[in-house]
C-alpha cells in the first residue's frame, strides 16, 4: 500500500516537472508577450496542480495535506488575477505592437 502510494506520487510529480519543461519551452518558442503568457499558464495550472497532488498523496491523509491544498487554491486564485492584470496592461499600453502580433476581431482597443 505504502509502495503503491509512493509510486503514484512520483509519477504525478514527474508529470508536473515535464509540464513545467513544456511551459519553459513554450516561453522561448512563442514570439510575443500574450502568447507567452498562455505557455506560462501551463506551468501555473497544470504543473503546479500535478506536483501538489503528488505531494498530497505522498504525505497521506492528515492536516498537512489540507495545508498543501490551501497552497494550491491560493496560487490558482493569484495566478488568474495576475494574468488578467498583466494582459490588460499590455493590451492598453502597447497598442500598436499588440495589433501587429494579434488578430483583433471587432474589439475597439481604444475603449479598453
Amino acid at each position: 500500500m505504502e509502495l503503491v502510494r509512493m509510486i503514484l506520487a512520483v509519477i504525478l510529480i514527474t508529470a508536473g516537472i515535464i509540464m513545467e519543461i513544456i511551459a519553459v519551452f513554450g516561453l522561448f518558442r512563442l514570439d510575443y508577450v500574450l502568447p507567452r503568457m498562455h505557455a506560462a499558464a501551463i506551468g501555473d495550472t497544470g504543473a503546479l496542480g500535478c506536483v501538489m497532488l503528488g505531494l498530497m498523496i505522498a504525505s497521506g491523509f492528515n492536516l498537512f495535506t489540507l495545508k498543501l491544498l490551501l497552497i494550491w487554491v491560493f496560487l490558482w486564485m493569484g495566478s488568474s488575477v495576475t494574468s488578467h492584470v498583466l494582459s490588460r496592461m499590455i493590451v492598453t499600453a502597447e497598442k500598436e505592437e499588440m495589433e501587429e502580433h494579434t488578430e483583433v476581431v471587432d474589439v475597439e482597443v481604444d475603449k479598453l
Binding site: 500574450l34 497544470g46 495545508k67 490551501l70 488578467h84 494582459s87 483583433v104 471587432d106 479598453l112
Partner: protein, 159 residues
C-alpha cells in the same frame, strides 16, 4: 462562510483538541460578525451560500477537468512545430446577470490555459485573448456558462 472560517482555523492550528475547537467556534463567529458589519456581508448571503454549496463544489470539479483538457490542448499547440498559432482578441456577450457569476466566469476563463480575460464590461461583455481559435470555440455556450446559469436560477428563486 462560517464553516470555511472554522476549517481555516483548524488547518492553521495543525491539530484538533477540545480547546482549539471551542476557541475556533467563538473566533469564527466574531469574524463573521465583523464581516456583516463592515464588509457588506449578511446572514441572508450566508444562507444563500449554503444553499449553493453543492452546485459550487460540482463547479470546482468541472473547472478542474476543463483545466486538464485545456492544458493538454495548449501543450499540443506548443509542441507541434508545424502549427503556427494565430492569437486573437475577440469579445462575446454573456447571459449572466449577477456580478458574482460574471467574476467566477472571468476567473475560470483566465485559469484555463489558452484563454485570458482582458476585460469584463459593465453590461456583461467579455473581451478574451486566445492563443488559437480552437481553444476558444463555443466559449459563449461552454460548460461554465451553463452551470453558472443554473446557479443564478437558484439565487433568483431564493430571493
Amino acid at each position: 462562510m462560517y464553516v470555511i472560517l472554522f476549517l481555516f482555523w483548524i488547518i492553521f492550528n495543525g491539530n484538533i483538541t477540545v480547546e482549539i475547537i471551542a476557541f475556533g467556534l467563538v473566533i469564527s463567529a466574531v469574524i463573521l460578525l465583523f464581516m456583516c458589519k463592515f464588509l457588506d456581508y449578511s446572514l441572508k448571503k450566508e444562507l444563500m451560500l449554503y444553499r449553493l454549496a453543492p452546485q459550487l463544489i460540482a463547479y470546482m470539479f468541472v473547472l478542474l477537468w476543463e483545466v486538464v483538457k485545456a492544458n493538454v490542448a495548449t501543450a499540443a499547440i506548443i509542441l507541434n512545430p508545424k502549427v503556427k498559432s494565430e492569437p486573437k482578441l475577440f469579445h462575446f456577450p454573456s447571459p449572466l446577470k449577477t456580478t458574482l457569476c460574471r467574476v467566477i466566469l472571468a476567473n475560470s476563463i483566465t485559469l484555463t490555459p489558452g484563454t485570458i480575460t482582458v476585460k469584463l464590461d459593465d453590461d456583461g461583455t467579455f473581451v478574451i485573448h486566445c492563443l488559437d481559435m480552437d481553444l476558444a470555440e463555443g466559449i459563449e455556450d461552454s460548460v461554465f456558462v451553463r452551470r453558472l446559469k443554473k446557479i443564478e436560477e437558484i439565487m433568483e428563486a431564493g430571493r
